[in-house]
Each structure stands twice: as structure tokens, then as C-alpha cells.
Symmetry: C2
Subunit: 484 residues, 2 copies
């Protein structure tokens, strides 16, 4: 809960915590101490006591920290330290903390736990939270878990597991409080008092009928402010933003952002309440999505534990490098075809990366614009053509502008006016190519139902590299008699 | 408010809205119609009536739409259509909609309004909202606004204007409800009923003393569930996550995410309540920040109205292209220095982009990892060295691995074993260079207080390009007698 912390800047206390844990670990050499203990069982008793005291100190420090802060500390520690700290965290918080850490770190923590510990950790969680952990849990633990749950929870867990990532179903929880429409606010309030506590991020109750169908929502605000003798049916809001479990999570996040929602009901095809979506799940999703965008632009397959082994990192990164190697080989063969031309004028070899590089940069600018506009739903068939001609216009101006600059550069360096003209022509053509592909690649990917953010940058760079070399060296070959 | 919409998927209705507006504009040729009307005042009366009817239809459609949805439609329309729709939107919603659209589109809308309209629009907004609009408003409008506000609002607006972007002060609002600690819940509830309505995203009230100092917070939950006769002082939460107006907005967003907050008090150095931060402001900030990351990676100076004029787009993009041109010139000169070597073995020209390209990709992978870890606060002096050696390890393995692949490729193509060995050596060295710079550049930028996400990708690509050419052509020059 949000109100269990020291007064003061929350992030400051977090950084303080991290520094304090690291200081304790480092200054008292705790990890090394433990290793020694195992190596030499008859180690000096006094020194052992000192270590024990520091461990107690560390234990106390961790107990005072919020689970999310412990997670942050675990992320920032190398593997040995991480496992030592993990060992000291109270067992009943295991589950909560596993939810907070990144996938990569979670893997390293789960590996250090046995089945019983994992089962115990999972049993402290809600079904939707268990579903979040499930991909990382061993199969036998999941089996045991399913057997230990009651029928309602088991069927919820199974359905939560069945929703693909990036759907509302995978983000929703089951912590909704429901009331009936035909009672008074007073009765509803008494019912809430009996419950004793409301789930986090509850800003509204869900009004359902006998069959579980959603009739409306009752904002807590109205419950507080309206006449207690009024009927729920008269006070509730009937027009509600609702979601379906199969809805795209990103669309839902956009709706939360647009309508400033805190929570919203998730219903099935027959309008029956299935669960709720909360803004904290949405914030996590937005964050993860933007993280994934950045990772995929750089060609990292998934988020990486920064202390992962060298070998694991190599595996995470190889696919992208392999793809780029293929595109580089192709570009290399394009140049290879013009070796005769380069032999006649070796300056071409020095100038060709300029054409390819600027083409790639310009293409990526167009691409980013279009990917963004696609994500915001701003592009439809009617305006696509307009965008296309705008980008062509920008490319033409940039081509002539920057083409002149590089042309003059080439002329000054090599004293051949024709070389400058070829540079300018090649630059303009390559920027036009970049503009066309910068619009076409993401639009087509979107049309065929693929995520335009993934892989399109590699594709456009491949095209502007090979294309740039081909255009420049091709023009040079055509006009060689003015150049050599 | 969130509950004023049709039941059904919110995002579906948004897309429907957009499609309906576009259909109305297109099918009935509304924009063209208006233009004609101006050109030929004595235009066929019947046709004029038809247009008028369609305008009325469009008007009704827009009136039914949520401001955020109108904003989305405006974003997706080319300038002429956008201004036509803008004209039809009810004047009292102008301000709200201006808040929702992107900076670029806002500019185009404000340009179409006169000072009186702008003043009227701004007067419908809260002071924190006016502050968000202020950078785009003409100076005389701001002056008039300041004069029209009462003293408290004026001083709030002035202080809101004084906080730099990316601080909590720029995100906070003043819609906080305060109560005293010495009253009973019953009294507090009666006070709220008199207020009649609570601001959006109110999940807690702020408990302040006579001097306005924050004593604690009262979650609405507790107000609902606890004994009405209890004193606020006994029920309130005293340990609260608070922020200062000067705090970094991103740190605050991280805290909101970690502690699942809906709202939090902003206090000054003497613990006095200044305002509040809400999750919707935080979500907007997270979204904008991740947008800015993507834009700056692609070298777009700011978000671009996709229908901006060609000339505006050229201005938005030129700085990046200019920087890249400089780095490309440098790389070109590095190659130029080795023209003698290339003349002896022209195959080098075809192979060199492979070394530079893979180096750039690998460097950007390392860079992205480090930038992320820095943003999450996972890097401190103690573990930086460990990270460094890990990245060197990854680079060494990748260098030998991919170096062998390109070496064999070169050998098979050109039948020279020594060329393969040079390729492999150059690849390994350039990947090591990429790893070192991939860690060093963002770490140093961070150390000197700069945002490591901005510009570091250009820098690393510049180093791996020029460095890659230098290493490869340098090695080839050294071992030329085995190559030629």
C-alpha cells in the first residue's frame, strides 16, 4: 500500500536503500564471508559472529523496505549478492517480489528456489498474479498449484493463462467489488464496511444483476457524496468504458490515457463481468511496451539481466547481428560488382559511405514518424497518399540541399566537378528511395497485421545501404568518361 | 469524466468516430464545398443547402464525442479538414481539446484562433492546465490572462510557469481537497457533501494543519469504511509518499509505478502542501518520455504533425542529418587516407562496410542495455567495472565468432587466406571498440548530468564507422604483402 513509507521523497529513500544494502554487502565483505564459511567450517568464531551481526543488520534493513524497492535492489546486484539478499527476504514476500522484478532477474531467483518454496510463494498471490509468474515456473509447480486451488480460482487461473500476452485478459485482475442495483447506498456502504477493506486502485464498484451481467458502475465519489437513501440504480453511471478480455492491451492503455481512467470493467460477449483492468497494470504495460520498442530497435531479443553471464548475452544478441551480417554481405556484393569502376577512380570508395549513411538516417526519420502515426491510429487509406507525397517532397528538398553540400565537398577534395554532380544525383535518388521505403515498409507491415516497429529499421537500412551503393556506383559507371 | 460514453469498447468507438468524420468530410466533399463558396458567392443555392445539412450532421457527431476523441480526430486530419472540424467544435471545449492534442497540432489550431478566442478558451481551464498551454500562446494573451485571474490563481500560474519541463512542478495540479486532523470522519463527510463533487483521480484527501503543513492523507476507502465518529487524526495515514515541485518527473513516475499510486501530495521545503500529482499526469509523462526517446534515436527534433508542411518537416529533421553528414565526412576522410591501399586491392572497398556496420550494431546493443540500466538506477560505481568486463567478454566472443564467418566469406570470395585473417582481426577489434564505447559514452554522459539517451547512438556509430574503417584498412596496409 502506498501509505506505508517514510515521509520524504520516495525515490530518494529507494536510492538510499540500494546504497545502504550495497554498503553493507561491500564493507563487511558479506558474500566473501559466506563463501569462506563454506570453504573452512572451523573458521575463526569471532569473525563469524561479526558476519552474523551484519547479516542481522541487513535482514532488518530489508524487512523495512517495500517489496518494489527490494526488487529494485535485487536488479542492481550481481548474482552472488543478489542470492544472498534474496535468502534474507522474508519468505511470505517472495511471491510479491518475484512479480516486481524483470523477467531476466526473476529467472535467476526462481532457479535458486526449490519446488516447495515456489509453491509457498505462489500461494500468497492472487490468481492473476500467479498467471503472470506462470511462464517462469516449472511445470510440476504449476500442476501442484492448480490442484491446491479451489474450483473458481482454478478456472480463473486457467483462463488467465489462456490469454495471449498483450491482451486485456493477460492484464486484468479479479479484485472487483460488485453490488446490486436495487439496494440503497446505505446498504451498499454497510456491505463495504463488513468487507473491511477494498482492493487497491478501487475507484468504483461494479453494479451487476443476478446473472453477473454489468449494469453500470458506482464511483466511490458518488457513494460518499450522494444521499444514502437513494437507490444504487438511480445514482450509478450506466454509460461505462468497458473492455473485452481479447482486446489489444495497447488499445486499452490508449483508452485509459485518453479518458483518465483508474479502473474499468472487463466483460464477456454476453455483457457479464469477468474482471477489471486497473491503471497500475496499464502503466506497467505502457512501460514494458516502450522498453520493448527500444530493445527491438537495438536488436536485443529480450530484456537482459545486466549481470547475466557472457554466454547468455551472446545468445540474446546473436540473431540481430546475424541478420545484419546478411544485409552487410549483400551490400558488399553490390560494391563487388563495381570493383572495376572503383579501380578506375578510388575516390568513389571513400565517398560511397556518405550516400549510404545519410540515406539510412533519413529513411529512419520517415519510418519513425510513420510508425508513431500508425500506433496513434492517425493513418488511414484516405490520407496515406498525402503523407507519401509529403515525404517525397521532404526527400527531394533534402536531396538537393545535402546533395549540394556533399557534391561541393567531393569537388573541393578531388577537383572534379562531374564527381560533385554524381554525388548530388546519387544523394537525391537515395533519399527518395529512403522516403518511399520509409512509408511503404511500416504501412505494409501494418496492413499484414505485423508490428511495424519490429524489424523495419533493419529493412530500411538494408535498402538504403545496398541501394545507395548501387545508385552511386552505378551513376559513376555511367558517367565514368567525365570522371576518370 | 470517464463514465459518459457508450457501453462498448472505447477504442472501437474512437476509430468509428474518426471514420465517420472522415466519411462525412470526404463523401460530401465538405472542404472543397467551402472553398467553392468563397470563390463563387452566387453558387447554386440547392447545393449550398446540402452542404449546410452535412455540416449540421458533422456538428452533431462532434458534440457527442469526448474531447480526447475529438483531439484524436484532429490529429488524423490534413490541415484544411482539421480547421473545418475545429471550427465546428463547441467553443467551451476549445481549451480542453487544445490540452489533448500534440504540440505540433496545437500550434496549427492556435494559429487559426484570434486573441479573444484564445483568452476565452484558456479561461475555461485550471491554472495548471493554462501553464501547459502557455508555451504555445501569444504573449499578449498570457498577459491578459494573468490580469483576469484572481491573486491566488495568478500566483499559482506564475509558479507553474516557472518550473522547468520534466519536473514534478510542471506536472502537478491544484485540485486537492484538504481536511483538518481534529474533526471526525462524519464532519469530513458532511464537508465533502457540501462540496458536491471531488476532482478526478481523487483517491485520498490531504490532511493539513492551520499553516497548510501536510500532516497525513485520508484515503477515500478509509473514509467510507471506518467508524464515522472516529477522528481524522486517528484514521489517517501518516507515512506518505510525497514529492517536491523540483523533483525530477521521471523519478516521480517511477515511484508512482513502484508503489501503485493514484495521487500523491506535492510539498515545499517546509512541508507545506503545494499541490498534487495524479496518475494521469504521470501516464502522460511516461508516454511523452518514451516518445521522445524514440524520436531522438531517429533524430527528429520534436514530434511532428504528420500533415505539417514539407518545409516544417525539413526544419525538424535537418539538425540530425547535418550531424550525421559531419561524421560521414570524417569516415570518408579516414578511407581517403588509405586510397593507396585500396588501389592495390579493390576488394577492401567491398568488404569494409561489413566491419563498420556490424560494429555499429553491436555497439548500439551495448549502449541500449547501459542506457536502460542507468535509467532504472541499476548502475553504481561498484558494479560498473563488472559490467565493463562482461561487455568486453561478449564482444570478444562475438568478434571471434562473426569474425570467422566474415573471414571465411572473404576467403571464399577472393581466394586469399590472409584477407580472411585480416577480416577476422578487424571485426574482433572493432567489436571490442564498440563495447568499450557502448559502456563509456552513456556512463560518462550520465556522470556529467546529461541524458544518456540523447545523441549517444550517433556518437557510437561515428566511432565504429571511422574506427572500423581505420582498423580494417590499417591492418590491410600492414599485411599488404600477404594480400596483394
Amino acid at each position: 500500500m502506498a501509505d506505508n513509507f517514510d515521509t520524504g521523497k520516495a525515490h530518494d529513500s529507494t536510492e538510499d536503500n540500494l546504497n545502504r544494502v550495497v554498503a553493507l554487502l561491500r564493507k563487511h565483505d558479506l558474500v566473501t564471508g559466506l563463501v569462506h564459511k563454506q570453504d573452512m567450517p572451523r573458521r575463526d568464531l569471532v569473525e563469524g559472529l561479526v558476519h552474523k551481526q551484519h547479516l542481522t543488520e541487513l535482514h532488518a534493513l530489508l524487512d523495512d523496505m517495500h517489496s518494489a524497492d527490494v526488487a529494485l535492489v535485487l536488479e542492481a546486484l550481481p548474482l552472488n549478492d543478489r542470492l544472498l539478499v534474496w535468502d534474507l527476504v522474508k519468505a511470505e514476500r517472495d511471491g510479491e517480489i518475484l512479480l516486481e522484478v524483470s523477467d531476466a532477474v526473476r529467472e535467476s531467483l526462481i532457479k535458486a528456489m526449490d519446488s516447495d518454496e515456489l509453491l509457498a510463494a505462489a500461494e500468497t498471490l492472487d490468481t492473476d498474479e500467479i498467471a503472470d509468474l506462470a511462464p517462469d515456473l516449472p511445470k510440476d509447480v504449476i500442476q501442484d498449484l492448480l490442484e491446491s486451488l479451489d474450483a473458481q480460482k482454478r478456472s480463473r487461473l486457467q483462463s488467465a493463462l489462456s490469454y495471449p500476452e498483450d491482451t486485456v485478459g493477460a492484464l486484468m485482475d479479479y479484485d472487483m467489488v460488485t453490488i446490486r442495483a436495487d439496494v440503497t447506498l446505505e446498504v451498499a456502504l454497510r456491505y463495504l464496511r463488513r468487507l473491511g477493506e477494498l482492493p487497491d486502485q478501487t475507484d468504483k464498484l461494479f453494479v451487476v444483476d443476478r446473472d453477473g451481467a454489468l449494469r453500470g458502475v458506482m464511483p466511490l465519489q458518488r457513494l460518499l457524496l450522494k444521499d444514502p437513501d437513494a437507490k444504487v440504480a438511480d445514482i450509478m453511471a450506466e454509460e461505462v468504458v468497458t473492455f473485452h478480455a481479447e482486446d489489444d492491451a495497447t488499445d486499452a492503455a490508449n483508452a485509459f490515457e485518453r479518458y483518465d481512467l483508474v479502473s474499468a470493467p472487463v466483460i464477456d460477449g454476453r455483457n457479464r463481468l469477468m474482471g477489471r483492468l486497473t491503471v497500475n497494470a496499464v502503466v506497467d504495460h505502457i512501460r514494458q511496451e516502450s522498453d520493448n520498442d527500444l530493445l527491438s530497435i537495438a536488436g536485443l531479443r529480450e530484456e537482459e539481466d545486466i549481470f547475466a553471464s557472457v554466454w547468455k548475452s551472446v545468445q540474446n544478441r546473436w540473431a540481430w547481428l546475424a541478420i545484419n551480417l546478411v544485409t552487410a554481405f549483400i551490400a558488399s556484393r553490390v560494391i563487388g560488382e563495381f570493383e572495376g569502376t572503383i579501380e578506375k577512380l578510388v575516390a568513389l570508395a571513400a565517398l560511397m559511405p556518405i550516400i549510404a549513411g545519410i540515406g539510412g538516417n533519413s529513411g529512419n526519420q520517415t519510418l519513425t514518424m510513420i510508425v508513431r502515426a500508425l500506433a496513434l491510429g492517425q493513418i488511414h487509406p484516405d490520407n496515406a497518399k498525402k503523407l507519401f507525397s509529403k515525404e517525397i517532397g521532404v526527400a527531394a528538398i533534402n536531396g538537393v540541399l545535402w546533395g549540394s553540400v556533399v557534391g561541393i565537398f567531393a569537388y573541393l577534395l578531388y577537383g572534379k566537378p562531374a564527381l560533385g554532380v554524381v554525388m548530388m544525383g546519387a544523394m537525391t535518388l537515395n533519399l527518395l528511395l529512403a522516403a518511399v521505403m520509409g512509408v511503404a515498409i511500416p504501412t505494409l507491415m501494418h496492413k499484414f497485421g505485423r508490428d511495424p516497429a519490429v524489424g523495419s529499421s533493419v529493412m530500411i537500412t538494408a535498402v538504403t545501404d545496398s541501394g545507395g551503393f548501387f545508385i552511386f556506383l552505378g551513376l559513376a559507371t555511367l558517367f565514368m568518361r567525365y570522371l576518370a
